[in-house]
């Protein structure tokens, strides 16, 4: 990517942590990836894809990175490369997964833990508003070990007991 294009990609909403906004650039970049997902609406295509995934993907003019993300079921990478969640969810459905399974995968947590988090009121917005911290309206909770070790795009999970949080540092984000 050239410097100019890199700069054009700097957007105010990129400051929101753990979020890939499906904007015009991503829509353009991910056109064939999303059209691939759309093709999975048809049973015969689902069958062909499952029979030979790599071969099926050849039908769509995707980049090697996009193909790799699909084959690895790296849902966050798909979003980063222009996939849209309403489209990539069709890939999850083709694999026989519930949406909550895909959501859990994207947050790097076990589905059971993710479901528990939702039942407990979901992921708090506190501490999850802004990467730069500029827009953190309320005082964010003191950052624990888990928060520090979360990846750069990671979002913080609801507060957990300190001991538990320390023990599971790095493995739990949702």
């Amino acid at each position: 990517m050239t410097a100019a294009r890199e700069k054009a990609r700097e957007k105010e909403y990129d400051d929101i942590p753990g979020t890939f906004v499906f904007d015009a650039d991503r829509s353009r970049q991910g056109y064939y990836l999303n059209m691939f997902c759309m093709s999975l609406m048809k049973a015969e295509n689902r069958k062909a894809f499952k029979a030979n995934e790599a071969e099926y993907l050849e039908r769509f003019q995707m980049t090697p990175e996009q193909r790799e993300a699909i084959l690895k079921r790296d849902y966050n990478r798909m979003l980063e490369l222009g996939g849209n969640i309403y489209f990539t969810a069709k890939l999850g459905a083709t694999d026989g997964h519930s949406f909550q399974h895909i959501a859990a995968v994207m947050t790097g947590s076990a589905q059971e833990d993710y479901a528990k988090m939702m039942l407990a009121g979901g992921r708090s917005v506190e501490g999850n508003r802004s990467k730069s911290g500029r827009e953190a309206r309320a005082k964010p909770a003191p950052r624990g070990a888990a928060a520090r070790s979360a990846s750069k795009t990671g979002a913080k999970s609801p507060p957990r007991p300190a001991a538990k949080r320390g023990k599971k540092a790095g493995s739990k984000r949702g």
């Binding site: 105010e12 909403y13 929101i16 942590p17 753990g18 979020t19 890939f20 906004v21 499906f22 904007d23 015009a24 829509s27 991910g30 056109y31 999303n34 059209m35 997902c37 759309m38 999975l40 609406m41 966050n76 979003l79 849209n84 969640i85 309403y86 489209f87 069709k90 459905a93 083709t94 949406f99 909550q100 959501a103 994207m106 947050t107 790097g108 993710y114 988090m117 939702m118 039942l119 009121g121 979901g122 992921r123 708090s124 917005v125 999850n128 508003r129 802004s130 827009e135 990846s151 795009t153 990671g154 979002a155 984000r173 949702g174």
Partner: protein
């Protein structure tokens, strides 16, 4: 003259549809959600609208990335349920109201809203789930429904202000339709949720409750919420709450909040629901057509005058 009697907003979480289709509504998890709509179904049965205008968004069902209309008004005679990958939902075909829909299209386009006219379209859970929540699961939907699909999938969706103003243009269009129709406008989607990326699972009840308050009392304040704020505070997909402002714009400035329900979660989403009635023209039980003529009109005018006198004497 056609008139808008009330507005309803409701989340359209796909899992709610799945719970209905798989008969899970009595399970404790789902009962918590569905019990919140019991009163709403009663209200709707009582309100008996002649037409519903349903503002919703398509989820890569009717529109892929090939065609992304910002506002698409369904002018067809019917809209079959879409196959979203598991076969079409077992719900009735949505019957449209082509005459009113094309009248609205013509009126709002001349009012400078360049919407897309759709004469063939399948509708997904975004539309059918709220219909289930308000009408239950009848063999046929009790009235025609005009779908208004709004792009909230690709950024940027229309602004909240634009949505609100479109609502006002729709109100004007409905009021200029000659037939005596009682119309309910539904806004769907929301409330706070993010279903994409590592921040998935985000819920912001404080934002949601303030949004519900604002919807009743100060919708113009809500029209100033930026897209950035929606995404930051209510989640990347929570931005779809702009659609509620089309409903609100179609109502009078002052409305009566008759019902509200809020619960977390349904799957990954905060469920919010509100019913707002236009004050001057209260929802009333439909009378037989024969008694809706001059006499009933006079009676209403007298009652209206009496109310105004009562208000004055209170001052």
């Amino acid at each position: 003259m056609a008139r808008i009697i009330a507005g309803v907003t409701s989340s359209h979480v796909p899992a709610i549809g799945a719970a209905i289709d798989l008969k899970k509504t009595e399970e404790p998890y789902w009962k918590r959600v569905f019990s919140g709509f019991e009163k709403s179904k009663e209200w709707m049965a009582n309100a008996k609208p002649d037409v519903v205008i349903a503002v919703y968004n398509d989820h890569a069902s009717a529109f892929s990335v090939e065609l992304i209309p910002t506002f698409a008004l369904g002018c067809a005679a019917e809209f079959p349920p879409a196959d979203e990958g598991w076969g079409p939902r077992p719900v009735p075909v949505v019957k449209g109201h082509p005459a009113l829909a094309s009248h609205i299209a013509q009126s709002v386009i001349l009012d400078e809203f360049d919407l897309t006219i759709v004469n063939k379209m399948e509708v997904d859970h975004g539309l059918t789930v709220p219909l289930n929540l308000m009408f239950g699961s009848p063999v046929e939907w009790p009235c025609p429904v005009i779908p208004l699909a709004v792009n909230v999938v690709m950024y940027p969706p229309p602004t909240g202000h634009r949505c609100y103003m479109l609502g006002r243009a729709i109100r004007k269009a409905v009021q200029s339709y000659p037939e005596d129709l009682r119309v309910v406008v539904m806004g769907t989607g929301g409330m706070s949720h993010q279903i994409s990326g590592p921040r998935a699972g985000l819920i912001n009840s404080k934002f949601d409750k303030a949004y519900l308050d604002g919807l009743t009392r100060d919708p113009k304040k809500l029209t100033r919420i930026s897209h950035l704020e929606f995404m930051r505070e209510a989640g990347a997909e929570g931005i779809e709450m702009v659609m509620w402002l089309i409903m609100r714009g179609a109502l009078d400035d002052k409305v009566k909040e008759v019902y509200r329900f809020y619960t977390v979660p349904a799957s990954n989403t905060a469920v919010g629901h509100i019913i707002l009635e236009n004050i001057e023209r209260k929802t009333r039980r439909r009378q037989p057509a024969s008694t809706r003529g001059g006499a009933a009109k006079e009676k209403r005018a007298a009652a209206h005058a009496a109310r105004r006198i009562a208000v004055r004497s209170k001052r």
